[in-house]
């Protein structure tokens, strides 16, 4: 592997790992918080915002998503949008589906797996 390929792989992997951790942590936080529409009706927008930002998992998730954001900015400054965007996103789809099944215990049925695979193939094709 050339240094260019290694560097591109490292950029994409750093986006995928931090984005997956961020997505799983924020999704887990929102599951703990509950339906925001219901909370907003009960406590107003300030109450709903407070319920979210005081959640510990949400804080960790935001840190991971911030790292993912800066990894993305770094990658965009070196490579094309049409390479980094599809590659990072399609891999994140698969890692998110696996992590959601094992960590969030979501009911990832055949319909969702099919959707994830279709979107993954589709996003990967966007790179050509």
């Amino acid at each position: 592997m050339t240094n260019t390929v290694l560097a591109t792989t490292a950029m994409i992997l750093s986006i995928v790992v931090t984005a997956t951790a961020g997505d799983i942590l924020t999704a887990s936080a929102m599951r703990q918080v509950g339906d925001l529409d219901v909370i907003r009706q009960r406590s107003g927008i300030a109450g709903a915002a407070a319920a979210v930002v005081t959640n510990g998992r949400f804080g960790l998730g935001v840190i991971c998503l911030a790292l993912s954001f800066f990894s993305l900015l770094f990658a965009f400054s070196h490579r094309d949008l049409s390479l980094i965007g599809p590659a990072a996103t399609s891999l994140t789809f698969v890692t998110n589906a696996l992590a959601a099944k094992f960590f969030l215990r979501e009911n990832v049925d055949h319909r969702r797996w099919t959707a994830a695979i279709f979107v993954c193939i589709g996003v990967a094709l966007l790179a050509f």
Binding site: D35, L72, S77, S82, K101, R112
Partner: protein, 147 residues
């Protein structure tokens, strides 16, 4: 799923795709960032295109969190993936990138994937899930159980 919730998914789709395109436009105009000078990334935040992209991504994040409070992650991500189609169109018509037939095939796959997931249940209700009810959830939307 109500009309308002589909609207939230539409906002996620539009803000994510436009936000990423703005970031790409901004970072291209600034040039490559060196690992030896990571402070350039902080400087980039204050450039107009990147700043506008961040504003859109804040809107994306707020609507994304709202969606995650009533739907599964494995529902929200594919359901909002039409954003990659919009991103491709923006890359072609605004940034001037070439869009090959393979990319259009990719757009067709994504659209099919979105169709699959949005026809199914949006939420796994852990408080009531049993083996029997998991089978029932496959037949009827979980949000009806919640409401």
């Amino acid at each position: 799923m109500t009309f308002r919730r589909y609207l939230v998914l539409a906002v996620i789709t539009l803000t994510a795709s436009c936000g990423d395109t703005f970031l790409s436009r901004g970072m291209k105009s600034l040039g490559p960032v060196s690992l030896a000078h990571p402070g350039q990334l902080i400087h980039a935040i204050f450039s107009p295109w990147v700043a506008a992209g961040i504003v859109l991504l804040i809107g994306f994040f707020a609507s994304y969190l709202t969606a995650l409070s009533w739907a599964d992650l494995t529902y929200v991500l594919p359901a909002s993936s039409l954003g990659y189609v919009i991103m491709t169109l923006l890359a072609k018509f605004w940034l001037g990138e070439r869009v090959s037939p393979m990319r259009w095939l990719g757009v067709a796959f994504i659209t099919a994937g979105v169709g699959f997931v949005t026809r199914g249940p949006s939420y796994t209700d852990h408080s009531t899930v049993t083996t029997h009810e998991v089978r029932r959830e496959e037949l009827e939307p979980a949000e009806e159980v919640r409401q």
